[in-house]
Symmetry: C2
Subunit: 415 residues, 2 copies
């Protein structure tokens, strides 16, 4: 394989996670270790938009210790973006502009960190560069709390979010039992089309402090059936905790909030979720004449690095490093994936999955991991998820609060 | 001081905290260490209601290791209650019943763990026992995330809640900056009449990741002034984070949710809070034509033992122990308080405050700790609160999740 000398750029796309910066750190640290091949590693501000606008940072000027701190700094330190590239046949403006920027900065390595949409973006860019005869190696680094990427055992970001959700659910369980009056609690968890995160509430259940009912997007939602499920438990125990995915929908495609109002649509044409807990709480309060509390984990669940999973931080970082190593070895058009070698002891290895296979494919919870009634998960899910949250990431603290990274963000732009 | 032999009972009242069980553990461990005087220590199920109904547990039959685990188990393991005793002149039924139960079980020590209302309950019971000629020593153990108890530097429960709120605020801050589009975030924090917890968001600010504006119940709320404050910051930065106490109200006593709907009232005649973030988010979105996210920390903030403060756990436990020690030494009708000897290094000692002084008195943030505009706190608050959250409580884990106590709860009832 011919050695390809030049510069590299890394960008982040889509919603943040607790460990997306750990992937950035992995890419940066590995690239900086190969200065003989990768002259400069740039970090794009707000993903693809930063590249289009030549808004990026020269990472070689950062303090290596601050790059270390990135590993436990949540959200997206460089900034993210939700920007959908047009199909090249419809409009190639952005693609031409990207090629122009890549040529200007001699970008020969492009690393992009994101979910399904981002892998699609990667794939389109790579194809255009190849067609244009511009040699550039493109590697995807997986990221999503939703855990719905094809071909990987799990996705960096998921384990930390699951760890927080399971922990918070245990705490809510204790809180919901403090009075001996009737109480129903509805927990709303993120996850558009896959219920991996919502199912993480079952990990709390494995410790005796979980929800009674779990509703996932994998199963058609039936409001009346749910009411019957809740009533049965509530009549017996005076308590009921329900975990519901924001993405739960009826057989004819209606999301819970749609039962009472309008739903917004984002730049990718996805319906904007959220509000299911509040709507369900109102509904159950009316139907069952008892106090119902709706709790939306909201974005607390996706950036809870203080409760991060150690393996998640390591895998996020290592996925970034692996992307660089493989690109240097001549690979292109792959996403790095995690393959679980063993659960006891927990061991993984890194694999490559063709971008074309990942792009826009969603991986859902297998139906056989969901109980027959469709309102809970079984031991197979627990066995899958519990090893992912076993250890704390050990985030460094300062005065008892998270010590986040402090980047200098020195512009890499040439005028 | 004459030695008073007999049994003891401990109960919990009001909303849960991350460390209310640590106080229970303190009372239990100290009482169990004095079996020569305190024959049996009972734990009342659901506070005063458990005593009235002879529903309590014999703590001496619990595994001491499980009592240790109580220290980092959130919420109220025995169960709590919101039950308001009538004034004895109006109706002495409950008082007579309590005396009957105390006599039946030879209860000579009554420890009650709660906030202002609970200290009022303690005080009323003690007065009645004295008037009836029944010797019983009554001690209050402080508890409230609201931090509004009179006479103590701070209240067990506050520091852990503050630590979680500051940490979560830092994470939200990072998340809110992930896109370069306009974004306003409204954080709603608990606190009915005192802003101590809402002000804890300023600790995140001390680390460069805090809210731009903080609205506290101590300052009359003015919706138009808030809009002007937000607009000024948003126009300049395209981002604005607002922390608002659920208890914020206008000069004429209107809470934020009252601007759009009905407000419920609890058993103590307190208006039920919550919903301020959602209401404000709607209002700001309409007025400023930008995306506004409302986040209610909800009950996640009061039971977040996974992010607990070490000093909080220690002080909650020690307050319980001190209550027992002082009662054994002959004291009655006091609440244990925390006096801060020094902030650097952080050191406290325990003091006694007469119940009559604590009952129904609320301690608020001094006006001089709040900035002139009334939309933030100054360094005096930071210097006060930062030492309280310096160390993590180090909650024991099992499979990466909290290891909560598992009590046997053997009934102590005699029939």
């Amino acid at each position: 394989m011919s050695e390809l000398k030049g510069n590299a750029i890394f960008g982040q796309s889509g919603g943040p996670t607790a460990v997306i910066n750990a992937s950035a750190a992995g890419v940066f640290l590995e690239a900086l270790a190969h200065k003989d091949v990768i002259g400069t590693i740039y970090g794009a501000a707000h993903g693809i938009r930063g590249i289009l606008e030549e808004d990026f940072y020269d990472i070689s000027q950062e303090d290596p210790q601050e790059i270390e701190y990135m590993k436990t700094t949540p959200s997206s330190e460089l900034g993210s973006v939700r920007y959908k590239l047009a199909n090249v046949e419809d409009d190639d403006t952005d693609y031409k502009r990207l090629l122009e920027v890549f040529k200007k900065y001699d970008i020969r390595y492009f690393f992009y960190n994101g979910g399904n949409d981002s892998m699609d973006t990667c794939n389109k860019i790579s194809k255009f560069m190849q067609k244009s005869g511009y040699e550039c190696r493109v590697m995807g680094v997986p990221k999503t709390i939703d855990n719905d990427l094809y071909g990987t055992d799990h996705c960096p970001g998921f384990s930390s979010a699951a760890r927080y959700i399971a922990t918070a659910t245990m705490e809510v369980y204790k809180d919901a039992r403090v009075y001996d009056t009737g109480m129903i609690t509805v927990l709303e968890v993120m996850g558009r089309n896959a219920g991996w995160l919502t199912a993480a509430t079952a990990l709390a259940g494995a410790k005796g402090c979980g929800p009674d009912l779990i509703y996932l997007p994998e199963v058609d939602f039936d409001l009346e059936q749910m009411l019957a499920d809740v009533k049965k438990i509530f009549d017996r125990e005076k308590k009921c905790i329900i975990a519901v995915s924001e993405g739960v929908k009826t057989r004819d495609g209606k999301y819970i909030p749609e039962l009472v109002g309008e739903v917004k649509v984002d730049a990718f044409g996805h319906k904007q979720m959220g509000g299911a807990a509040a709507v369900l709480a109102q509904y159950l309060e009316r139907e069952l004449k008892t106090k119902v509390r709706g709790i939306e984990f909201s974005l607390l669940q996706r950036c809870a690095a203080h409760c991060g999973s150690k393996s998640d931080v390591e895998e996020a970082c290592e996925s970034g490093r692996e992307a660089v190593r493989q690109a240097l070895a001549g690979k292109t058009d792959f996403m790095v994936g995690v393959d679980r070698v063993s659960s006891k002891p927990y061991q993984v290895r890194y694999i490559l999955i063709p971008l074309s296979e990942v792009a826009n494919t969603e991986r859902k919870i297998p139906r056989e991991w969901i109980n027959e009634a469709g309102n809970g998960v079984n031991q197979a899910y627990i066995d899958y998820a519990l090893p992912l949250i076993a250890e704390d990431a050990g985030q460094p603290k300062e005065d008892g609060l998270p010590r986040f990274c402090r980047l200098k963000k020195i512009p890499g732009r040439k005028d």
